[in-house]
Symmetry: C2
Subunit: 208 residues, 2 copies
């Protein structure tokens, strides 16, 4: 759930005073994902990851606040992109259309990245510790959506409707991801599109 290429270092890292970094956030993330895929998340210790990356355990925690965080690449960046994209949506565009477009973009990846993005999402959606941790990320994501909806509706972001929009969109996206994991041949963008379009008439379809 983070798009495109991101910075390859914990800090800008130009000609800068001080000792240079030994590795990068994204490289560390890669090593971690590899180990998780092989041994499983719980069975992989932070020491394992650090050793595999050739750094000290203490240093690992300078790149990631927690073992959980290694799974989510640069999520903050993704959130900023999402926020920016929503901010520049045409004012006349229907709310749900703008959201759908933004969410699809948020989940668009280079084909080369897809396989390990799948691994990543499988971890997030299946490993209890990560399911739990991810709630914090989801909350931040929902907030971005809720704030956008709130602006459009002229209500505070913590009002009923904006919050419901946030929950619904997240639910749609999560459902799409579940299906994507269950059917490896399916197209994520299509699944997301379908799920988000279903929101429009969801309760109409249910009312029967």
């Amino acid at each position: 759930m983070a798009e495109g290429l991101v910075d390859d270092a914990p800090l800008p890292h130009g000609p800068r005073p001080g000792r240079p970094t030994v590795t990068s956030r994204s490289e560390l993330e890669q090593r971690a994902l590899e180990l998780f895929a092989v041994r499983g998340f719980e069975a992989t210790t932070v020491d394992d990851i650090a050793a595999a990356a050739g750094i000290g355990r203490r240093t690992f925690f300078r790149y990631f606040a927690s073992k959980n965080d290694a799974v989510w690449g640069d999520f903050e960046q993704g959130l900023s992109d999402l926020r920016a994209r929503l901010a520049t949506a045409a004012p006349g565009q229907p709310l749900l259309d703008a959201l759908r477009e933004a969410v699809l973009a948020f989940n668009r990846f280079d084909p080369a990245e897809v396989p390990w993005h799948r691994d990543r999402m499988a971890l997030i959606l299946r490993v209890p510790a990560l399911q739990a941790h991810s709630a914090l990320r989801y909350a931040a994501w929902r907030d971005v959506v809720a704030e956008f909806a709130a602006r459009r509706l002229g209500e505070p972001a913590d009002a009923l409707l904006p919050q419901l929009v946030g929950h619904s969109c997240l639910g749609a996206a999560m459902t799409a991801y579940e299906q994507w994991l269950a059917h490896p041949d399916a197209d994520l963008q299509q699944l997301l599109d379908r799920a988000l379009r279903a929101l429009d008439g969801s309760w109409a379809g249910v009312r029967g």
Copy 2:
């Protein structure tokens, strides 16, 4: 989010062979909530709780799988009740009406319990560690709702619509709780009712 009075012991505890229990799940929960309210969740260690309850730390973990779990009383029981109530809903009753009724019942408490239920929910919704942990509970709750919706709609529980219903209902309930915490004078049942009714026309209200 668990209703009425529940068993006061970890196991049935009639005339039973073996050493009798020294305390009970619910009493332990009480002591824990008291400490959390005073010192805060993070600042309270399991040793603190165990000491306050006059038991050993090891024993605490025989009553609760984790420190987090002490906050959620007997949630499984609540889930069973919710499931049972939904199962006995009149087949002719509209889906959303049945859900609203069940959710209101699920969140109905003895007035005497309300104050510490408020404390409990404040912890769950505000303490990051509990926000995260609660995702697992929420998922189980959503599943109950999704399964009910699935039965009604004649679809599998992991299909799009049932999942969306689950997410939306949970979102409505969480939003109601947020408002309840923000406005201590408000009536939780009314807030829940309002939020769940809003689901019906939610996207209609948004489409403008």
